[in-house]
């Protein structure tokens, strides 16, 4: 068949493909032509090359894309076992951020020196610095776990560096930053090599592939396994012999020793197949999915524990409704606070803001003491001090949750933002805060010192959103902050979710945040409700009134 013999509408289909205008039916038709006619495939290749060849910007575009690995500032490639992988498309922004942050700091120092004549560095050093990306995974779930070896994980939600871990007993789930999940059943020895690779020395592991992730490399003493959209289990005995059971998708096996062919596809095992591999060779065995823990067993946390993990809570419920009801006193409610809501950090004047004593942003009231929310607007602030501060100088994890709703109003050019923030008593550095909120353009925003992370799409006005923030604090390792914005239509998961709306770059900081602030921009009006600060996911997403939970001994 020649080009002239191709079906008359083939060119038309190619045009529409390149123009991204193909319908489902047209795509199937094109696919059939490509399957049936070798000449159609050659023509397709030719057209693609013509298209990309005449785009002068094509090379620059590709350079931009591969800059994540070719840029000089990219951190060292791991020599072998211990490697770091940057999240997709992220590194470039990190470089930009560091460069901008450095330039900003330099500019601030210059201005400060010029204006005051003092040398800024004589002051207490700025604690926070953006750093490279050493974290590769999160201990997402753990059930009855006993850890051995050095530097064991301390709590669920902890971020993990490349590390050797020994799970003596229990079941744990690691979620790698590439999206892949590993479920371990003790006793298991594992090395977390990178966001995309782990080495199992012994034990039992189930891997859940992640659609968008590149191949995950699981190294065992006998072979390396590469997932192809997979769920599979592997058991590694003390003598190194290895079993591979493929539950879904395919797994490519690459022997550690032996002849590695040029073709990277040495052996592909399909769903429903299993193999035993040892030094003598490999042999098919019976698939036994029942021999593996596929997920960490769900376990509802004792309410007493949840209550203990709650650091502070405010329902904004006024004790008494007075006339007019908006003036009801909402400033003393809740637990875990040193004082009532104030207008200024160091003042004694009560915070302004209206009470809506019979309104709630929570989908369902679980207690009459939860009715009531507050409205701030016109540049109003409300400050309150925590009995137990948020410390970044120690190994800890904190969660914060609250409802927030932006009220629609006349459009102005700016000052339409509203937020919650952790603040320090020392206000000499206005950037020293961790902030979760909504921008003037309605984007959810996470703000840590000089980092601003905003995410599209914009949130709707006049609709309540449930914000959950997570702060990973570490004494010797970097800290990191996350924000997830839930809409009213979403179910709040019992366990920490896979996907966050905004994630900060890791940073090193040792600040202690003693107080919090609610704020609404000068031209805005915001409602806030049900504020919780705790040390576990459950403690801030359990909507029960803490007064109804059993107290600890």
């Amino acid at each position: 068949m020649t080009v002239q013999d191709l079906p008359p509408n083939f060119d038309q289909l190619l045009n529409r493909l390149i123009d991204s205008q193909l319908s489902e039916t047209e795509f199937e038709e094109l696919e059939q032509y490509l399957i049936a006619h070798p000449q159609a495939r050659q023509t397709y290749f030719d057209y693609l090359d013509i298209n990309t060849g005449i785009q002068e910007s094509n090379v620059e575009r590709l350079k931009q894309l591969d800059q994540i690995v070719t840029a000089e500032t990219y951190q060292s490639k791991p020599s072998s076992k211990y490697s770091d992988v940057a999240p997709k498309g992220k590194l470039l922004s990190v470089f930009k951020y560091v460069a901008v942050a450095a330039a900003s700091v330099a500019l601030m120092l210059s201005i400060d020196w010029y204006m005051t004549g003092r040398i800024y560095l004589e002051k207490k050093p700025v604690a926070a610095t953006a750093i490279d990306l050493p974290y590769v995974a999160t201990l997402s779930r753990a059930n009855d776990c006993v850890w051995g070896a050095d530097n064991p994980p301390l709590f669920s939600g902890q971020r993990l560096l490349s590390n050797e871990l020994y799970l003596e007993q229990g079941v744990a789930e690691f979620r790698f930053d590439s999206g892949v999940r590993l479920v371990l059943e003790g006793p298991t020895r594992i090395n977390i090599d990178s966001a995309n690779s782990a080495t199992v020395d012994s034990g039992s592991v189930v891997l859940h592939g992640y659609e968008a992730a590149p191949e995950f490399e699981l190294i065992t003493p006998q072979a390396k396994f590469f997932d192809i959209g997979t769920e599979y289990g592997t058991k590694v005995a003390e003598d190194g012999s290895t079993e591979l059971h493929v539950f879904e998708g395919q797994v490519r096996i690459q022997p550690i020793e032996g002849i590695v062919k040029d073709d990277p596809n040495n052996l592909v095992l399909n769903a429903g197949e299993a193999r035993h591999i040892d030094q003598k060779g490999d042999a098919a065995i019976v698939l036994k999915p029942q021999d593996f823990k596929h997920e960490v067993p769900g376990k509802t946390k004792n309410l007493k524990v949840v209550r203990e993990e709650l650091i502070a809570y405010d329902s904004f419920h006024p004790e008494k409704i007075i006339a007019p009801k908006e003036t009801s006193n909402w400033r003393q409610a809740g637990v875990g606070w040193k004082n009532s809501w104030r207008k200024q950090l160091n003042g004694s004047e009560p915070a302004r803001g209206l009470s809506h004593p019979q309104k709630t942003l929570q989908p369902q009231l679980l207690s009459p003491h939860q009715s009531g929310c507050i409205e701030l607007g016109g540049g109003q602030s409300a400050w309150r001090s925590l009995k137990k501060p948020i410390r970044l100088d120690t190994d800890a994890i904190y969660y914060i949750s609250f409802f927030i709703q932006k009220k629609s109003g006349p459009k102005t050019s700016g000052n339409l933002y509203g937020n919650f923030s952790f603040q320090t008593i020392d206000q000499s550095d206005s950037n020293k805060k961790i902030l979760f909120g909504i921008t003037s353009e309605n984007y959810p925003i996470l703000h840590y010192n000089l980092q601003h992370v905003e995410r599209a799409p914009p949130l709707s006005e006049d609709k309540p959103y449930f914000f959950v923030g997570k702060i990973v604090a570490s004494k010797d390792s970097p800290d990191q902050v996350f924000l997830r914005a839930f809409s009213g239509e979403e179910t709040i998961p019992d366990q920490e979710p896979l996907v966050w709306t905004c994630t900060s770059d890791p940073f090193r900081d040792s600040t202690t945040f003693e107080c919090i602030r609610l704020y609404a921009g000068k031209s805005s009006k915001y409602l806030f409700d049900e504020l919780r600060i705790g040390t576990s996911w459950e403690s801030v997403v359990n909507f029960q009134d803490p007064d109804d939970m059993p107290e600890g001994d």
Partner: protein, 182 residues
Amino acid sequence: MSTPTSLTDQNDRGMFTSLLNRERLRIFGYIRALVPHNPDAEDVYQHVCLTLWNKFSEFDQERDFFSWACGIAFFTVCNFRRSAQRDRHFFNQELIETMSMERMHHLSNHNIRLELLQDCFNSLGAADQELLLQATFEKQSIKEFAEKAGKTVQTLYNRLSTLRRELAQCILRKLKSEGPSS
């Protein structure tokens, strides 16, 4: 002071960057043929670059970098397809496998064909050159361009088909007369 490790890393990076500079167009060309939607192909390309760098210590420098990269790209495309097939156009696995081998072969003389394309493209009239450039401008559909140009979409598609076919034939003619055959 640089450590021996960092020097090795620098050497590795230098070697890797040099190989990627030489082959990035062909690697992307390979991926682009297997992934019908350009933004998806760019996404896959970025994943492939990351994987190539992370596995670079395993690369046998006696081997052809492009072939090695295509091996990794193939599996990355397969992974990507599994996630994309539900909501986007994606070729079936059998076609991907068939095209994978053919495309690698097709790209063996890609650099020569690229040079010849420039010659052929330059020989076109200004209006035809403009039409082709506009048609490949990613942020604009032919429909939008047709509206601006006051022509029908079908007219432009027909002309584009003719031009692409002429360019392909022009390259083939020049290959036969000037360069080694593919």
